[in-house]
């Protein structure tokens, strides 16, 4: 029989601490839909998606109701379109994006990822066509998300691709100027991209995966925060070792809930279960914030001295708890610090307590990167590329995933407000030193060689 405390504490997590399944993402391979005729490909792709994902939303809702854990988002991730659509022109790539958007809408999911290319060592024809198509594709669709991998620890950093992506981010924002550059919120540039992220905008189905797979993103920054607060109140003189333990045990519980439902969704749909991504992913809701965890651990604000250390401890404890809870942990699995998607982080940036420089330092110990950062509209493509290069370097040298989701908001300046809406939230535009000029470094091009991996200092 269950003990009272087991029941009550679980219910409190669900009712007051925003424990939920942030996303159930169905990965669908489109590799065998390939054709050099875009109409054939899009017809096959739509058929594939609309068949396999037909019961995704209802299954998630039913299982969510059975267990009382809401599945907040249902999403789809497909094979990287630059590979599957390698023969296509940029215009045809836009058609593919529209077909994905339609299919996603028909099955009731809110985002479809996989409009992606892997160019860490070089760009092929399909990659170039996809990247050329990104600004229009993201401006003319609602649900499509794009991710481009420009660096790996093994290959180094493809600076030609980095420069191209600086230009692409800027163009994508300009194509959606009336929405404060919203297109760029659906585009992420990666180093060491994982093949099984369930979260957007980085989700795509890796080429080593099977026909279809369910990956789950759990979340619970509010749960972690409350656990920390209760422990501090209950244990005077509590130390960081003990707090790490509290975070770890909380991450265990959250991961377990995610895997339970994810496995049943997979079984019901007749597909493989992939991984739990146990990231602390915030939403712009009070109490569902990673930023608030910094306060509960004694900092005046995220961005204050101590922030990088706090995040390192938090990220590591979350991974350890999750790794014990499930044998299949993947994706990003850590703590997210997306500026616009977290009320407390957005507020800290608006107050000037959190700068881009501190955020960049923190990305060296968290699982995502420079995420959902609104920048001045006059930020140049080269400055964007250089900032992306910084983030890629952190990932490549430290053998981890890093990413950049930067939004230069057309027509607005540092200190002004950008509004993206829904889960993407809103943010104050952050200042970037030397952001509007040229950057001769990125113009050199070529590849930054892969780092030596034996002399690690």
């Amino acid at each position: 029989m269950l003990g009272k405390q087991e029941v009550i504490s679980t219910l409190e997590m669900l009712k007051y601490e925003h424990l939920d399944l942030r996303t159930v993402t169905l990965g669908i391979s489109l590799l065998d839909c390939a054709s050099d005729d875009v109409r054939v490909f899009t017809a096959r792709a739509r058929q594939r998606i609309e068949t396999l994902a037909a019961a995704l939303v209802t299954t998630c809702d039913r299982l969510g109701a059975t267990y009382g854990v809401p599945v907040v988002n249902k999403r789809i991730a497909v094979s990287p379109i630059a590979l599957v659509g390698a023969p296509f022109t940029a215009a045809e790539m836009v058609e593919v994006a529209r077909a994905l958007d339609t299919a996603a809408g028909n099955v009731g999911v809110d985002f479809v990822g996989g409009f992606s290319a892997l160019v860490e060592k070089g760009m092929a024809a399909g990659d170039r066509a996809l990247i050329d198509a990104v600004p229009e594709a993201l401006a003319t669709t609602a649900r499509v998300c794009a991710s481009i991998n420009v660096a790996t620890t093994r290959a180094g950093i493809n600076m030609d691709a980095v420069l191209r992506m600086g230009e692409t981010v800027k163009a994508t924002a300009e194509h959606t100027a009336s929405d404060d550059g919203l297109g760029a919120a659906k585009l992420v540039v990666f180093a060491n991209i994982p093949e099984d992220i369930p979260f957007m905008a980085g989700a795509y189905l890796g080429v080593g995966e099977g026909d279809a797979v369910i990956n789950v993103g759990v979340s619970g920054p509010g749960v972690v925060k409350r656990a920390i607060e209760r422990a501090i109140e209950a244990e005077p003189g509590i130390d960081l070792g003990r707090l790490s333990e509290v975070i770890k045990q909380t991450a265990f519980k959250v991961t377990r809930a995610g895997e339970l439902i994810g496995r049943e969704v997979a079984q019901t749909l007749g597909v493989t279960f992939g991984v739990v991504d146990l990231s602390l992913a915030p939403t712009p809701t009070r109490g569902d914030s990673v930023g608030e965890i910094f306060r509960s651990l004694g900092l005046a604000s995220i961005g204050a001295p101590g922030s990088t250390a706090v995040l390192a401890m938090l990220n590591d404890a979350v991974k350890k708890g999750g790794a014990f809870a499930s044998s299949y942990v993947g994706g990003l699995s850590g703590a997210f610090i997306p500026v616009s998607e977290d009320l407390e982080i957005a507020a800290a940036a608006a107050r000037g307590d959190l700068s881009i420089e501190k955020l960049e330092a923190m990305t060296s110990v968290c699982s995502v990167g420079l995420d959902m950062i609104a920048l001045p509209g006059d930020t140049s493509a080269e400055a964007l590329a250089a900032l992306i290069a910084d983030e890629m370097a952190i990932g490549v040298i430290n053998r981890k995933t890093t990413a950049a989701r930067l939004i230069p908001v057309p027509g607005k300046r540092a200190g002004e407000h950008a509004h993206f809406g829904g889960l993407l939230g809103e943010a104050t535009i952050m200042a970037l030193p030397h952001g509007s000029g040229g950057n001769a470094f990125v113009r050199f091009g070529g590849r930054v060689p892969a780092p030596i991996q034996s002399l690690v200092n």
């Binding site: 029941v7 679980t10 219910l11 267990y67 009382g68 895997e259 339970l260």
Partner: protein, 183 residues
Amino acid sequence: MTQAVISVLGEDRPGIIAAVSQALLEAGCNIRSVSQTLLQAVFGALFVVAMPDDIDEAALARTLTGALDGLDLDVIVHAYPAGAAAARVHAEPFVVTTHGPDRPGIVAAVSGVLARHGVNVTDLQAVFEGGDRPEANAMIFQVDVPDPVSLAALKADLASAAERLGLELNVQHRRLFEIMNRI
């Protein structure tokens, strides 16, 4: 040997189980199973025992009452229920929780709905801490929902009952609680 069920009730203090089990031993009984609980200051226990063939429930009751005289316990010996070993339909375990201010009728109303749907309560716990945190006043019903029962209909009826009583009510499969809280 035949089985009997013995219920024991009294004011809680150390030594009750020792006294009862010693008395059962001396009466030639073997304890097959026991469940004991403390509710506020009250001790309660159920013993399933195997009685020797030469005594019946009435005789055992007299023996126990004599042996436990002075301990101020209510001891009743019952025949073991005849239909108790009947085959059961497969059921899924759920947890029904109610939260809200205490008032008369909560247990009756919720358990009434459960009974009407053929749902069996396997465990019932109450948390009454007072104050204004809703979770401080909770009823936790662990139940078995037989496969033929419509979960949707059960939930709808429970929701109506909860609304009439001004309570929050949740119905969740037990596996969630087990998997989150146990290794």
